[in-house]
Amino acid sequence: MAKKGELEACWSKINYAFPILNGTIFTECTNEEFEDIQEIVINLVFFNVFDNEYENSDMGEDVMCSGCWNDYSDCNCAYIVKVFHDTNRKLMELQLLERLADSQPAVDDIKLCLDKTDLRPTLCKNLQTALETRLLHPGVNTSEILTAYVSTIRTLRHLDPSGVILETVTKPVRNYLRNREDTVRSVVSSLTEDGVGSELAEELAKFAADGEDDLEKEDLWDEWNPDPVDADPKANSSDRKASDIISMLVNVYGSKELFVNEYRTLLADRILGQIVINTEKEIRYLELLKLRFGESQLHFCEVMLKDIYDSKRLNALIHQDNTPDDSQIVCNGKILSAQFWPPFKDESLELPDVIKQLLERYTKCFEALKGNRTLNWIPHLGNVVLEIEIGQKTLDLVVSPFNATLIMHFQDKPEWSLEELHQVMKVPITILRRKITYWQSMGLITEKSADYYVLVDGNDANKSSVATSQVQEMICEDEESESVMASAHDQREGELQVFWSYIVGMLTNLDSLPLDRIHQMLKMFASQAPGTECSIQELRQFLDTKVRTHQLVLQGSMYKLPKT
């Protein structure tokens, strides 16, 4: 430790030389922190800072510093470099990137330093490594990565308005996100969910608000600055500046369609999963999204919402005509225009006769109202509000039609074997076994012997609750929230299957073809077939799976059909 007098001298030197230190860093500190930092800086000044070329060169000589063009005696470069490193390190430690609001002063410091030094590459590299080690590994949730990505974009935007640092630093993040399966889903759901933590939703609303500023920007020509030297010369600088947070996220994939499709699936899930739908809220979001993605892309979603709106009216109309009768079951239909909805998962389910009659009556009413149109029921979608009375227990539940059907069968007959259930419900046994765990977990059904289930009487429910606690653990949490839509992956598979018949046709007649020829031919002849474009990489993957299953032979670079 240096002597006190020396310390003071040094400190005044720092103050004199580098007002930034006084100006910003320490203004936001508590007294304790102030002292801590003061000590750190002083130590560093003594032992490290001058440990560079400026210090080593002869101070007495009247030479100009190559950094600031001042005499060495007046040179601030060393301090600046020091402060830069110091703040930079703090930036990593304090996770400043993720909390711009708290770390604004530090970022301002770095910003000032950057102008005076050539440390941009170092900063970029450090930030990149920090992001990579902290975020880009399997242990982090996609939503967390996205949050960090968003705040990184904010912070770096502030640090470097030209967007060059941002582009460099976040490149690995973008590449990584591209490989995560649930990225699109996470982005879309955070775009549309409201409440705390949905920064993206705010961002979306903000975009709608300041959409009109574009004209003003045109007038700022006299404030133009050239791009920094490390900018990618191929990229357009105005693009870099203009892209906001949402478009940066969308650009991770480079395609709007993917996002719109995912939004459609999520919307469908949400609409079908809820009994009461807040159409107004959904329409508001849809309008916001329309501003961003364009009218035509979201036309399908518009129809979907209109379906729901119309169904509400129709239900009211039907109930008005039909006074509630003996059955006491109220049926509200959701009438979907199948053309505009994403494909549903294909599941079979035989509903109980009571329900079937009810639906038939509903269909009759619909036919009477709508002239020559009829309804095609999808039994496994929708919700059932159940009230179960068993012994002294009463349960109010909202369950899937599947579970409702299951428990309704137990109403008629308290004991069922899986095989019998399979007979009446027409559902594969494996699925039945999986679904029945829901009722086991509710303590209503127990497995008496293998594949043989009995209804638990209300009186001995207490006894069984111990046994069922184990079952509870084994149930997947997301059982009920499972998506009813066919996954994007399945859909794509189906689309590629269309290509497959073309590929077979091609190879039967033309013997063997290289990949690019197949791709070209498909583009020429199969483009009218449903399913959008297929990239050459995707095609290669698809063909490779076919090679693996011995449906194709790869010889050299030529694909062939195997000899039969």
Binding site: S501, Y502, V504, G505, M506, T508, N509, L510, Q520, M521, M524, F525, A526, Q528, A529
Partner: protein
């Protein structure tokens, strides 16, 4: 045959053949569209034993493949054909030839086929699929009364000998 007349020409009341170029151009488009549709249909149905696909980017030249029909002497054989579509298709029949040499009473040594629907019996209602199916069934049921290949025609009545000769012929030529 009213069906074989392009309504474009038939309805044009102007005897001075109003500028043929535009008609041709329009037609060309219509023909490609029809061929594209036929291709889609063909890929969708994927009938057993017949198949065809455009040879290259040119939609007017196709390669077809026919497997010899079961329970005939041609069973197990595979023949390639070339199909060429005129600009007036489907009002004129496609020109179909065997590429793989085929020993058959109604096919000559150059691969030309004698089949009524490819000549005077053609109507616009036929398409590639029906043509290929017809040729496939022609293999099993030749018309020995108007042969292009006399030797095959004579030999046809003696099926075992025909089969023996045919197999030799096929094995010798299948890769050419």
């Amino acid at each position: 045959m009213a069906q074989n007349i392009n309504p474009h020409y038939a309805s044009s009341s102007n005897p001075a053949k109003q500028n043929e170029d535009t008609i041709k151009l329009n037609d060309n488009h219509a023909v490609s569209k029809r061929l594209q549709k036929e291709l889609m249909e063909l890929m969708r149905c994927s009938d057993k034993g017949i198949s065809a696909f455009p040879e290259s980017e040119n939609l007017f030249k196709w390669i077809g493949t026919i497997h010899g029909p079961e329970d005939t002497v041609y069973e197990g054989h595979k023949y390639k054909l070339s199909l060429e579509f005129p600009n007036s298709y489907p009002y004129a029949p496609p020109i179909v030839k065997f590429v793989t040499p085929c020993f058959h009473p109604n096919v000559d040594t150059c691969g030309l086929i004698c089949l009524d629907i490819l000549k005077d019996k053609w109507t616009a209602l036929y398409d590639i699929r029906t043509v290929l199916i017809s040729i496939q069934s022609l293999l099993g049921e030749p018309n020995t009364l108007s042969p292009l290949n006399q030797q095959a025609s004579y030999l046809w009545s003696n099926q075992p000998a025909y089969k023996k000769y045919l197999d030799e012929f096929y094995n010798k030529n299948k890769d050419s």
